[in-house]
């Protein structure tokens, strides 16, 4: 009974993910595309929940929806996000992109089916991995990849800071300090 529920819901979420993923690439407006991306990510999180992988699901929401998409929207709105149907995001490499996407899909699907065919997913809470299992896995068998990823992220962070920090921007405070200096000189 439970399994049937799960299966039905899986198809609902899968449809949501597919439709919104198509929305991401066909949207005429970058903000709409980003919002479709939110729907895609939340759909994926729902599928994780179906498999009782709660930790991954909420990590997905916290990191991707809560942080990355917010940051992305932030950047888009700060730079160029015209309201309404505006801008043409198609170009002549559309066909090539479609081929690459199809190829990636094919390869991933083939790899997944090849390696996981016949594996049963947990259908009830008891068999599911807990956060304790996840923690133990990360900090014992996968500790090296984990640390490597952290170093990579740190490097990216430092790089971002270096790029962002061009020269000191003038703020009211520096201007005011200069003005005060000038005023003081005049007083003397």
């Amino acid at each position: 009974m439970e399994a049937a529920w799960q299966e039905g819901l899986f198809f609902v979420f899968a449809t949501v993910i597919t439709v919104s993923a198509i929305g991401v690439v066909t949207a005429r407006n970058v903000i709409h595309a980003a919002l479709f991306l939110v729907a895609t990510l939340i759909g994926a999180a729902c599928i994780y929940i179906l498999m009782f992988a709660e930790f991954v699901a909420w990590a997905q929401v916290l990191v991707y929806v809560g942080a990355i998409v917010v940051l992305m929207l932030f950047g888009l709105m700060l730079t160029r996000a015209p309201i309404g149907k505006y801008g043409e995001y198609d170009n002549d490499q559309k066909g090539l992109a479609a081929i690459v996407a199809a190829a990636v899909f094919g390869v991933t699907a083939w790899v997944l089916i090849d390696s996981f065919e016949g594996v049963e997913l947990p259908t009830d809470r008891v068999a599911a991995t807990t956060s304790k299992d996840v923690g133990e896995a990360i900090f014992s068998s996968y500790v090296l990849p984990f640390e490597l990823v952290s170093v990579l992220l740190l490097a990216a962070l430092v790089g971002a800071v270096v790029i962002a920090r061009r020269d000191e921007r003038v703020t009211s405070r520096t201007i005011d300090a200069a003005r005060r200096e000038k005023a003081r000189e005049e007083d003397v």
Partner: protein, 382 residues
């Protein structure tokens, strides 16, 4: 240090291959909660920094300088109290003084002392109002209610004497409309003493607040040179360390008889302007106390001709309005109406310095600076 980027700089940067950013034009006003009326600030913002800010005024222009050419002096005295609606009584004074100078009217002592009482009470009303609105602009709503509590007491005292709450219409060339009623003295004294007693609460609420200091110290610095060149006056000028106060420099009425200080700031930032404003409340309250204690007896209206008709002549008379120097340049050709009356309002000059002060500040600082410039729209637009 790089310069603030003007729109041209941004265009050049983009042409040179920089990041394709755009400056945004933000219309602050004409309807905006921080502008105290129909005032518009055409701000060009670069992120949250103001690259340029140009005040646009005139939405409330009522053409007083033309209107008064078709009205006689008694009407004008009442008309001008509508300019700066927060300090009606102060608006009426320099005009009456100008007429008294031209017509050589002697103002009886009691009238002069009572005028001082009223003027200073009106100043307290005005300053408390700006105390209230400045707090509200920085997000602290509570001081508003504190200030209004005190305002109400003073307002009731003023109302008992004049019958008005904003536009008192109590001034007459040559004195006052009538003597104050019985009980006014006690009421006025009580209300101003309460202000002095409660000023500690104000200090605790805003002046001593760490966040308030963060928002105002070193923000929107106005230099002494700017004060002079723009003709900025009042608490704003004194916040920049300019000690000019007409009451001290050229005492009119009986101001030379009172013991009061002129609070002066040092750095000319928002905090100092606000500090001066708050401390002027105490000084005004002290003047009211002294004036009430020394109030002489006698008539309140001098020998005034039945028709007020200024002889030919030209005079500029100024007085210390709560917001700064208010002056009337009265040119009379001997008619019952002024030939030309130039109204020099403090807010007009004070606000004209805004583009210089606002350049390079944050949007949030813009609000603090606008609030600390204590302007009344009717006073700018006339």
């Amino acid at each position: 240090m790089t310069q603030i980027r003007t729109p041209e700089d941004v265009a050049r940067e983009v042409a040179e291959g920089g990041l394709a950013t755009q400056q945004m034009i933000l219309n602050v006003g004409p309807q905006h909660p921080a502008t105290h009326g129909v005032f518009r600030l055409l701000a060009t913002i670069d992120g949250e920094i103001l690259a340029e800010a140009e005040p646009v005024i005139g939405y409330m222009h009522r053409g007083y300088e033309k209107l008064v050419e078709a009205r006689d002096y008694r009407q004008i005295t009442n008309l001008v109290s509508r300019m700066d609606w927060l300090s009606g009584f102060n608006n009426e004074l320099p005009l009456a003084m100008a007429l008294e100078t031209l017509m050589e009217i002697e103002v009886p002592p009691r009238a002069q002392w009572l005028r001082v009482v009223m003027l200073e009470m009106n100043r307290i009303l005005n300053h408390l109002m700006f105390f209230a609105s400045f707090g509200a602009e920085l997000g602290a709503i509570t001081p508003t209610f504190y200030a209004f509590r005190e305002r109400e007491d003073i307002q009731l005292a003023m109302e008992s004497a004049t019958g008005g709450r904003m536009h008192f219409g109590f001034m007459r060339p040559g004195g006052l409309k009538e003597d104050v009623p019985r009980g006014f003295i006690a009421q006025a004294l009580k209300s101003v003493r309460q202000v002095i007693a409660r000023l500690d609460q104000y200090e605790d609420l805003l002046v001593g607040n760490e966040i308030f200091k963060q928002r105002t110290v070193d923000v929107g610095v106005l230099s002494r040179e700017q004060v002079m060149s723009y003709g900025v006056s009042g608490p704003i000028a004194r916040g920049s360390g300019v000690s000019d106060d007409v009451r001290k420099d050229e005492p009119y009425l009986v101001y030379d008889r009172f013991d009061f200080n002129v609070p002066i700031g040092h750095s000319g930032d928002c905090f100092d302007r606000f500090w001066v404003l708050v401390h002027e409340v105490v000084e005004s309250a002290r003047i009211v106390e002294q004036a009430i204690e020394g109030l002489p007896a006698g008539p309140v209206l001098g020998k005034v001709p039945r028709v007020i008709q200024a002889p030919e002549g030209e005079v500029y008379v100024r007085a210390e309005n709560p917001l700064g120097e208010l002056g009337y340049y009265l040119a009379s050709d001997g008619d019952r109406r002024p030939y030309r009356l130039k109204i020099r309002t403090p807010s007009f000059n004070n606000v004209s310095v805004l583009p210089e002060v606002l350049r390079g500040t944050f949007v949030a600082d813009m609000i603090a600076i606008l609030g600390s410039f204590f302007f009344v729209l009717g006073d700018i637009d006339r």
